[in-house]
Symmetry: C2
Subunit: 325 residues, 2 copies
Amino acid sequence: MDGQIKEMIARVKEKADAAGGLKGVYFVACGGSQAAIYPAKYLLDAEAKDIGAKIYNSNEFVHHPPRSLDARCLVICCSLKATAETVRAVEVAKRSGAITIAMTGSPDTGMAGAGEHVVVYSNGDAPIYSEGNQAKALRIGFEILQQFENYPHYDAAMAAYAKLDDLVESGKKKLRPLAERFAAEYANDAIFYVLGAGPLYGTAYSMANCHLMEMQWRHAVLVHSGEYFHGPFETTDKDLPMILLMSTGATRYLDERVLAFLKTYAGRYMVVDAAEVLGDALDANIAEYFNSVVMVPLERHIVATMAERRGHSMDERRYMWKVDY
Amino acid sequence: MDGQIKEMIARVKEKADAAGGLKGVYFVACGGSQAAIYPAKYLLDAEAKDIGAKIYNSNEFVHHPPRSLDARCLVICCSLKATAETVRAVEVAKRSGAITIAMTGSPDTGMAGAGEHVVVYSNGDAPIYSEGNQAKALRIGFEILQQFENYPHYDAAMAAYAKLDDLVESGKKKLRPLAERFAAEYANDAIFYVLGAGPLYGTAYSMANCHLMEMQWRHAVLVHSGEYFHGPFETTDKDLPMILLMSTGATRYLDERVLAFLKTYAGRYMVVDAAEVLGDALDANIAEYFNSVVMVPLERHIVATMAERRGHSMDERRYMWKVDY
């Protein structure tokens, strides 16, 4: 698997170099798949010296493709099966001359048929997280950094993969009491604020949009930890249910500032801390980039624990795949 | 004013060219100021051929500046007075060798002291919107496109500025019945969904984070129109208050798709349509980029109409500028 992505990026590099170099990497997806590719976009934004990165909702990309799109761009689209607008996004990208990678759940999906390159990721009820959508998107990101810019922490990043699945498993055990307490205390609440920043902003997006809104029909206000103090904090009071995702790494200060405020002004908040889960298992230079690979399964586990208590299955939908939209 | 920004970008170009060309433009701000620079970031994302664009919350930028930051970058920071982390962002950018522009409310602010270049914008209780933060950030964007890439619609864009203030004024009259109805029907609701996409995504951010949460202490769930169907729509029912901002231009399809769904499955929604406000006043090639300059004052006007009815002043705060945070 490692080998497949390494070889694929070598071919991407050949083609991009022939076109004049890699100008940018554009990530395109919807919903949970967009949250899953966010960490790779975040990695390139943070670590690339000369390669731009953008992220798009699929239909925004399809209906308003950026004028910059050309043979010097790599477009990475992600959909488990074949979300119509994400398949169209691959086609729009190909027509522009861009290099395309389709990330998808099996070699037989409509997505797999569309991309110039295809990356299949682990999924389903018992996914291997170290080979899931987030982990593979990140691996593509690290390969790009390594092959185009000789990234100094590439070996440390590759070494991390062997530890991810154990970290999710031990994390579930560590957070079990928290999940139980959350389920007991918040089962009847209709609205939640979900805060995160840096490498966990995509995780906060996933928790709010996919797990609370889609799968539990609870309202969820997503707030960037750094933006909280510039508007949203005015609604905070002792009764409002709030969930703070704390990341490791350089942006942790933003979460700590929120936590200090919550301690004084909030009354019902839960902290889900990546530092507690990761300990010092991963190299400090790259640990933050893996935060979400471990934390998305854990925040989902927390919501799923509440789902059981509520008797509202995470699989229940009223509109998705059921009505026309 | 036009002349000042034109001359400023000419100096930016000289310096960037000497460093090897302009690699990227990074926009940095918090809250309402971040919403105000979003349209310029959107413009560059859509129209620039070779110049990347990023947007950051100030503290995320300060604590985790991107490795790409160097003399080939232009960093545009925006704060009305001197938000501490935004002033620090200017300093971080300067230390990296990047060219900096500080956008601020008067020549005497802490922000004005920090930037290599300074742009002062109209503000206060009766701002001139065509010279406000959004309009000036956009003008910087259009100048960059013109001077670096010979943008074909530059003249049309410049011609639009003379019409913006009249469009806001006539828009307030046109939307008055809508604002009154909104105030009457939604004054007692505690939660709102705000939907938008493309050029109005920043406007939706402003309405949710600044006007509903900060200034009215109402919960507001911000949803991208294209993402709505990939999770958040599961909470929609006949009782949920929803506000759909519809933009003109290529991404309007995303809003129309939401509207079709709301007509069937929602019961209490309000549509605020830029097409109704703008008519055909602006050149079709650039109209979408000015959507938010006109629509932010109008969505604010709608919330302010509700504020009067509720007897909750838009100026009331419980934490901002009052407690330590």
